[in-house]
């Protein structure tokens, strides 16, 4: 794990700006954490860790692959948020957030694909193929999906139900 270079930081900030202006700084400020990267080149994994954990991790004699909150990978300039990132960042990114109807929350949490009729409110700033956050009618985070090619449906990427199915 390593600190980001200036170039890394610019890439990450740009990728998160697509979701909400200044999102990286907002998340760092809100959590009191700093950005760490695991991997030499993209795709690499982003983490937010406390300054003390960061200090320790950088001095440990083996490669640490998990520290702090995992935010998800940066893949060729595009950020694919993790579940932990979805919970943290959703309130700050209304433009990239889809709201489900009450009846479609459970299917989403089972990892099911949703057609356009199931989404109460589409993310206004997302285009087909974009990653989006998904919330329930009460605006509680449910996970991450990809806007379907028709611009209306959602293909699941990672829903909170994953914690029960595979997360242990």
């Amino acid at each position: 794990m390593r600190r980001p270079t200036d170039a890394d930081r610019a890439d990450v900030a740009a990728a998160l700006d697509v979701w909400a202006a200044g999102l990286l700084s907002t998340l760092e400020r809100e959590t009191g954490c700093t950005l760490l990267i695991h991997g030499d080149t993209q795709p690499y994994d982003l983490h937010l860790a406390t300054p003390e954990v960061t200090e320790d991790v950088l001095a440990i004699p083996w490669d640490v692959d998990d520290a702090g909150l995992p935010l998800g990978p940066l893949i060729h300039g595009r950020w694919r948020p993790s579940l932990a990132a979805a919970v943290l960042a959703t309130p700050h990114a209304p433009g990239r957030t889809c709201v489900l109807g009450a009846k479609t929350v459970q299917p989403f949490l089972y990892g099911r694909r949703l057609d356009g009729g199931a989404v109460e409110r589409l993310a206004p700033d997302a285009a087909p193929g974009d990653y989006v956050f998904v919330v329930d009618p009460g605006r509680r985070p449910l996970g991450v999906a990809r806007l379907a090619p028709d611009g209306r449906g959602l293909d699941p990427v990672r829903d909170l139900g994953w914690y029960l199915r595979e997360g242990g």
């Binding site: 406390t50 003390e52 954990v53 520290a67 702090g68 909170l160 139900g161």
Partner: protein, 332 residues
């Protein structure tokens, strides 16, 4: 160092009774020698354990989480342990709510929460958790530290470490680094630790309600486990700063892995046994205080300080069987 298993010959009556209930007679004979009311213990071990949750203030105000769960029809009863609630009725599995998935609480037996209460970690410290998966106690440490400072969580099993990472992320923990390595490698973490938790791999007799196969355990397993525990204890002491605190715990009833392990550690390391914090010492669970550690085990007479360690037992405390010891490394 492997500790020789204690052999207590079962009487013919006990042997018959053990076979009727699916237990190894040698295990029941040992329990009868060490603990009160083995008949009641076996009866309770035949039933599912009570369910407990621990509310997570890192994710949500605990009062709000309680309201949300009660609105959904869950019945929750307070316990003497702060933030720990007993589930007395559930309209569906309490581990399947949105609140659980959002990390607002974890499923954690009451007994295991005592280990972190004994550790008393504080914000800003460096804490090691040497056998951390699946992460309930690590999360509890992070809660006590309010996500400030550093925790290094070790587990040698990659699959269990995966669960550990998922649980930490789900519960919004930010101050943990996870190492999929032997806990003994913790000595290489830079800077000595202020506190170390070793919830050691063990024969698991205290969790028979969850894993009935442990009823037919073999005496050789005590020696195997005690060897691993010794090695991890040595590493824990080496990684701890002078004056630092080590909490050793297991979920077994075997003295070889509990009191005798601590006695051996006292003889080879500059450690003293400390009383458990008042919050635990004064605890009454189901009207019973915790059972003091045994100072006489078969032919072994142990140091009196071992009585400062403690057990929970399923038939006395309505939780899993657990052992906890609080040890201070002497200052330089």
């Amino acid at each position: 160092m492997a500790l020789e298993p204690l052999r207590v010959p079962p009487s013919p009556a006990l042997r018959r009774w053990a076979n009727q209930h699916g237990y190894s007679p040698e295990i029941l004979a040992r329990w009868d020698a060490f603990y009160p009311d083995v008949i009641r213990l076996v009866e309770v071990l035949g039933r599912p354990p009570s369910k407990y949750i621990r509310l997570n203030a890192l994710a949500e105000d605990p009062t709000h989480t309680l309201e949300q769960l009660r609105t959904k029809g869950f019945a929750l009863e307070p316990t003497p342990v702060p933030e720990a609630w007993r589930v007395t009725d559930e309209p569906f599995a309490i581990g399947a709510t949105e609140e659980y998935l959002l990390g607002q609480y974890q499923l954690q037996d009451l007994s295991t929460q005592l280990a972190v209460m004994a550790l008393e970690p504080e914000p800003g410290e460096r804490v090691l958790d040497l056998a951390a998966a699946p992460g309930g106690k690590t999360i509890q440490i992070a809660q006590a530290m309010r996500n400030v400072g550093r925790i290094h969580a070790f587990d040698v099993d990659a699959e269990r470490a995966r669960a550990l990472k998922a649980n930490l992320a789900r519960c919004r923990v930010r101050n943990v680094a996870v190492h999929v390595r032997d806990g003994a490698d913790a000595v290489e973490v830079p800077g000595p630790a202020d506190r170390v938790l070793l919830d050691a791999p063990c024969t698991g007799e205290g969790v028979i309600q969850r894993d009935p196969t442990r009823r037919r355990g073999h005496l050789e397993e005590y020696a195997q486990c005690s060897m691993l525990q010794s090695r991890l204890l040595d590493a824990a002491v080496a990684a701890l700063r002078p004056g630092g605190l080590l909490v050793y715990s297991t979920c077994t009833l075997a003295p070889e892995e509990n009191e005798l392990q601590i006695q051996a550690a006292l003889e080879r390391h500059p450690l003293t046994v400390e009383p458990l914090p008042e919050a635990i010492g004064e605890l009454r669970i189901r009207q019973n205080t915790l059972l003091p550690g045994l100072t006489r085990v078969a032919d072994h007479k142990l140091t009196e300080a071992i009585a400062l360690t403690a057990h929970t037992l399923p038939h006395l405390h309505d939780c899993l069987g657990f052992y906890v010891a609080r040890l201070r490394k002497e200052a330089a």
